[in-house]
Structures are given as structure tokens and as C-alpha cells.
Symmetry: C2
């Protein structure tokens, strides 16, 4: 097992990464202060891992809430199901919520924990590659609104993140590939060595070699933890983690959830960011080809395939959280492995990229 | 005008108290950083003060959302109306929300500001006595759940609190009296001198003498600001501000909102706390009579008048946020002007008090 510490002063917490972690009782119970535990999971994950997690919590007062599965349920109404369960069980401020599932479960559980009685503890047990390398770490929580993704939420840090890569055994290939998009993101935005590692090992990673997965998850979480420790509330550097996301959110918002998985939309978005970086004179044609090649080897999409018009795309981009006083801020790349926040790209070049991909 | 500073480090903010403050543009605009301003108010307050506040915001991009009026609308669904308005107007992270109204508007606007895009700025302009002396100061925000009051929320501090006591001219007598309950609370929980001042001046306060009102609002906010500065997140001393509230919430939850106003329920709750403090041997019979006399002179109720059974009352109390691991914590009084948090009262004495008041 590898352990990372996300350094946030009093809010610091460990991230455990390895195999067989869901068999280790103390790893989990050491981070539970009170007696009341609510496990939040979904209809897909519950049959696979709920009993296993419950078996670790022997003497505690454990309840559960099983949510419908899917990004389309990442809403205030679904979070309200968690509040219902907490209140029906008369859980108080000393309770702990456990998010058992992918990013959607983690984001909603975290927001419920941030808001229940103005804040209770929670623990992340991410069971998808995407949530293991990205959403479970860093304390961003929230839900979608019909007019925009992740528009309602809170910064609320978990007490620990417990990443058992064995849970990936039950993840389907499409979801696995979608997670790989966020892994690749860390290479592109700030770690050229890791990008090379991924290029060298992508075939074996896609064959789910466990050692390579652990290395990749560990490196992704390390890079993310370093950035979050410097900028918890995203007033600066943390925005780099949104590489591809303003484009990607526009795809998800326009097509509705489920047509593109989040990681698939981010895949297209990262390639669009690379292309705009090329037009801005920073990346070479070869660089963009390298990005495209890595995404294709990860079985990820590289265009929206005619499903969205350019004008729809641009309109959807303008409600992103990265918009400040009406200006769309984008994460672009100076070179592969070095991203930056740009307000100064040329509007015509953005239009050209959107035209090329739509 | 009197100005108080609530000292919370980087989150510190001023509280302005006086007459004619809604005519002073800079007082408000000095605390607005971006260009987008959403005024949140309700159907009662909008016709009275919305245009006046808008007229202070000349060059800014101002939008408004007018909510239904009443505690029964203090729900996630109503907060969602604020999110709808923010997104329909494409407001971004740099926007500021202004809560213009009573405690319900303030609590919901604050929670919307805490949650919109994971946190934006907001300003409190409380227009009821209750919100001026209590809910607008200190950053507690939130909504009710069918199973409990204020169960969903966040700690989120405003940029300033602007208290124009002239807005009390349009407040009806029942609402005014309900606000007086929270004023009296500050005397009872920690300020014997202020309690004497209130006893000496209650008739003229109920006749709405403006100088006495300003003094009372100022003293209440000073006492609250001092407590909040010591314990922002209610891990200790701040709990004293809940004097009468665990009883009061039980009344509101059992009868539904509107039968008792919040301040009316708190009035009964404070007298119940005084009675239990007497049974515990701390207050004298005369002390309790004094409390009752002051509440009666403020035209506040002193019992639930047969509307709730003792068993209903006790059951409703056990879902309060002050319950820790199943134990109901209560704020009691050592003497008039000195409250404390008690886990150790006798269960039979609590039953007796509930019996007496039901």
C-alpha cells in the first residue's frame, strides 16, 4: 500500500492506494470519530461492495442509502435522498458519511456532508478509475443544475480517501477508458515525465496491469494533492486541473448526460485545448498528434462526431464556472506537460477549433 | 450610524446600524467587488424596499429574484429558484448576492451564496427586528427539511450587514414582538446589565422608540459578534446563542411553520429553559417570574397552550442539531445573564417542564 498526505493544515488527510484495502478494518475505522455511519452508494456498486464495507464497521450504528446510478441523477433532488436517510435515522452532527462509488456518488455525498447540519465528516471510497485519480481527492463537491454542470456545491475535504484498485476489476471497459482521460490530463498539464510513462505503457495500462495502475493512480493523486495543497479554493493554480473541462462540460451540457461519459468529454476537450494551443503557436503539429495518439490508444473519442453545432457549443461554453465577468477562461498548453490559464487567446482561433471538432 | 466589526480574520466584516442607511450608496457598493448583483427578496419586502436598494446600484448589472414569503418556503426547492435566476442571468463566480428581507430570506440567500459555484459573495440587509439582531450576523445559513429545522446549510459569512432600523416602520406588531424575543435572549444568556436595560425600557421599546431600538440592536449584535468571533463554527460557546432554541424548534417542527413565529417559539423555549434551570436549583422562582414578566410585556407567548402533547414535544426535541450521539444538549441558566451548555440535567425534570408547558 502507498500512502499520500494531502497537506491542508488542520484539514490534511491521507490517501491510501493499493490492493485489498477493503479488507483492512482499521484503515477505515481510524477515520471515524462518532458512532453513526451512513454509507452512500448506488444501485450498481451496492451489490458489489456494500456488504464488504459494512463488514468493516462492526460495532458502529451503520445505515445506508442506495442512489440511482448515473450523471443524470447528480441533482439536488438526489442529494435530498441522503438528507432524508440521515434524518430518518436521526443522525446528528457527530455522524460520518462514506461515499462508496464513482465520482457522482462522491460529489453528492461530499455535498451532503458539507451541508448536513452545516457540515459533518465524510470519507471517500472511490470505485472507478476516474474518481480514484481525480474527483475523490481535493474536496470539490456538488451537483449539476439543468443550466450547468457542478454549479451547486461546496469545498469540503474528506477525512481520508481509500483507493482499492481491486474495485476496478468490476469496472467496464468504457468507464475504465474514461478514467484514463483524467490520468492523461495530469501528464499534459504539468508532468512531462509522467506523460512519457503513459505513452510507453498505455497498452499494458489498457490491459489493466495492476502495478501500472497503482503507479498511475499514485502519480495522478500526488500531482493533484500538490496542486490542491497550494490552492485549495481554486483562486489560482488549481484551475489547471480543469484542462479540457470547459470544452468537456459544454459537450456534456449540450448532449445531456450519458451520451458522452465525463472522461470521454474531457478527452475531446483536451484535444481541443491542444489544437487551440497549436493555433496560438505553442504546441507543434507533432505535439497535437501525440496527444491524439495517446487518447486513441486509450479508446477515447477525439471529436463530438457531428452531434453538436458550433454555435450550440460556444453558447454552452459561456456558462462555465471558468467564466469571469463574461470572459471564457481556458486552460491551454505552453508545451506538453505545462498548462496555463489563458484569457488572451484569439476568439477567431477558438471559433476555428470549435468548427473543426463539431 | 454605529459600526461594529465582527472579527474573523480574513472573513471579518462590518455591521452598520442606524437610520436612513438605505439612502447611502457607498455603504453598500463599497462591499461589492464584481459587476453582477442579484437581489434576493420576497413578495412582502419587494414592494417596500426593492426599488430603493436597486437605485443604489446604478452602474452594476442588477437582477432580482422575488421569493414567496414565509418560513414554510425555507426549503431546498426555494433556494433552487435563486440558482435558476443566477444561471438564467449567467452570473459567474464574481457575482454578489444581496439578501433583502427577514431571516428566511437571509438564511436562504446565504446558503445559495455558499453553494453557487462553490461559494460567491453576499450581503445582508435585514428588514425585520429578528434578523437585525440575530440571523443576519454570524454566517449561519440554511434551509429546513420536513424532518427538522435548519438541517441543511453552511457557515458562510457575508461581506457586510447593513441594518437600517427605519425598515422596522413597515413591520407588523406580531413580527416586531417576535424579534424582541431574540433581543431578550442576549440579556438572559450573557448580559445581566442589558437584561436590566430591557426590563427598564420594555414599554418604550414596544412603542418603537428609535433610539432605544438602535441601542438594543447594537447591544445584541455586539454580544453576538463577540461570541461568534470566539467560536465561528459552534464547537463551543456559540451554542449559548441557542438558548430556548431546542425547545422552540420542537414547537415549530411539531405545529408546522406559521402557527408560532420563530421568535414566539423561542419565547416559550426560553421560559422552559428558565423553568428547568429553576428545577435544577440555579434560578429562583422570582427569576423565572421576571423572565415571564418581560416576555409578557413584549406581547410574547409563554406556553404552547395545549397545542402539543408532551410526548410529541419530546420526540420533536430529539432531532435537534444539539443532539450528540443521541443525548439532547440544552442551554440552561446558572443565573439571569449567565447561560451554559448542559448534558447533565435530570431527565425527569425535563419531562416535568414539558408537561407543565404542554
Amino acid at each position: 500500500m502507498k500512502t499520500l498526505e494531502l497537506d491542508l493544515g488542520e484539514k490534511s488527510y491521507p490517501i491510501y492506494i493499493g490492493q485489498g484495502l477493503l479488507d483492512q478494518e482499521k484503515l477505515l475505522t481510524n477515520h471515524i470519530a462518532g458512532k453513526q455511519v451512513m454509507i452512500v452508494t448506488n444501485t450498481t456498486v451496492a451489490p458489489l461492495y456494500l456488504e464488504q464495507v459494512k463488514s468493516l464497521l462492526g460495532s458502529l450504528n451503520v445505515a445506508q442509502v442506495v442512489l440511482p446510478d448515473g450523471e443524470q441523477y447528480k441533482t439536488l433532488d438526489t442529494v435530498n435522498l441522503i438528507f432524508d436517510a440521515l434524518l430518518e435515522n436521526r443522525f446528528d452532527r457527530s455522524c460520518t458519511l462514506i461515499a462508496l462509488g464513482g465520482g457522482v456518488v462522491g460529489d453528492m455525498t461530499g455535498f451532503a456532508a458539507a451541508s448536513y447540519q452545516r457540515g459533518v465528516s465524510f470519507i471517500q471510497i472511490p470505485t472507478t478509475l476516474l474518481s480514484q485519480v481525480d474527483s475523490s481527492v481535493g474536496g470539490k463537491t456538488g451537483v449539476n443544475h439543468p443550466l450547468g454542470k457542478n454549479m451547486i456545491g461546496a469545498f469540503h475535504q474528506p477525512k481520508c480517501v481509500l483507493i482499492d484498485v481491486d474495485t476496478l476489476d468490476t469496472l467496464d471497459d468504457r468507464q475504465y477508458a474514461a478514467g484514463m482521460a483524467e490520468v492523461i490530463k495530469y501528464g499534459l498539464l504539468g508532468n512531462a515525465d509522467f506523460l512519457t510513462f503513459l505513452q510507453d505503457n498505455i497498452q499494458n495500462l489498457m490491459r489493466r496491469n495492476k502495478d501500472l495502475i497503482i503507479q498511475s493512480v499514485y502519480q495522478s493523486c500526488t500531482d493533484k494533492a500538490n496542486i490542491v495543497a497550494q490552492d485549495e479554493l481554486e483562486s489560482g493554480k488549481r484551475a489547471l486541473l480543469n484542462l479540457g473541462h470547459t470544452f468537456g462540460h459544454a459537450i456534456e451540457n449540450t448532449l445531456g448526460y450519458g451520451v458522452f461519459l465525463h472522461g470521454e468529454a474531457i478527452s475531446v476537450g483536451m484535444l481541443m485545448a491542444a489544437k487551440l494551443s497549436q493555433l496560438a503557436g505553442d504546441l507543434s503539429h507533432q505535439d497535437v498528434d501525440q496527444v491524439q495518439d495517446l487518447l486513441e490508444k486509450s479508446n477515447l473519442p477525439i471529436s463530438v462526431d457531428g452531434k453538436i453545432s458550433a454555435s450550440e457549443f460556444l453558447s454552452a461554453m459561456s456558462v462555465d464556472k471558468k467564466v469571469i465577468d463574461g470572459n471564457i477562461r481556458l486552460i491551454l498548453m505552453k508545451k506538453l506537460g505545462e498548462a496555463y490559464l489563458s484569457d488572451y487567446y484569439q476568439k477567431e482561433q477558438l471559433d476555428q477549433v470549435i468548427g473543426d471538432f463539431c
